[in-house]
Symmetry: C2
Amino acid sequence: MTTTISPLPDLSRASTLFQALSDPTRLSILAMLRGGEQCVCDLQAGLDAAQSRLSFHLRVLREAGLVVDRKEGRWSYYSIVPEALTEVHDLTVDLQPSARSLPVHRAGSCCG
Amino acid sequence: MTTTISPLPDLSRASTLFQALSDPTRLSILAMLRGGEQCVCDLQAGLDAAQSRLSFHLRVLREAGLVVDRKEGRWSYYSIVPEALTEVHDLTVDLQPSARSLPVHRAGSCCG
DNA sequence: CGAATGTATCAACGTTTCTTGATTAATACC
DNA sequence: GGTATTAATCAAGAAACGTTGATACATTCG
């Protein structure tokens, strides 16, 4: 009855993505990664963040699929997964009010 | 093009927006609002959410600037602020790794 | 081998967020 | 006026989140 009007994407996936993006430290990490792959130690220096703190946030980003890591020797290199940001991008488009959606609202009379 | 690294937007504004979008209930609210303005009572029915719970989430969305409300009689009508979603949209674009950004990483040697 | 380095994980704690039920405020209807 | 009705707010508790310091694990170097 309360049918979805148009193809709203998986809400739980969406909230996971937005949640991962909802922290300033994590946004700073992503900002640093825009220029390309970075190792944890460089991120640590650039962000002036404690090691375990950084590791925590990298894990959140990784589990949301926003970044991937690559091990090389004793270093871990992280980089952005562009497709994930595209996914977020598409979500914001899907959420925009669309003129062609059902005009559910009956002006003047509300709530039966 | 004068692009250097790129204009990273206000992190705290960004995290407020993403935080507001990080909850499934709030995403459902926005999904319902895509079709146009809705009163709280209709949202309540559509989402099967307790009144105070809905009110809480509407406040989060409102304070993030993602929705506005309009009072009419004893009803409150909420609707999406498209500009706010555009803002989010732009953020995802800004976060995309750009080939023309500084290639900070020196392959092979890390951390001085 | 042992020591040093880079990173992940864990446990503990404080903070924030979400939910619930009760109360309050404003409007409408009799 | 009194009584519904709609929605915001508050207080309390539960759950999720973020920080810190300690520990564990793997890799490199001597």
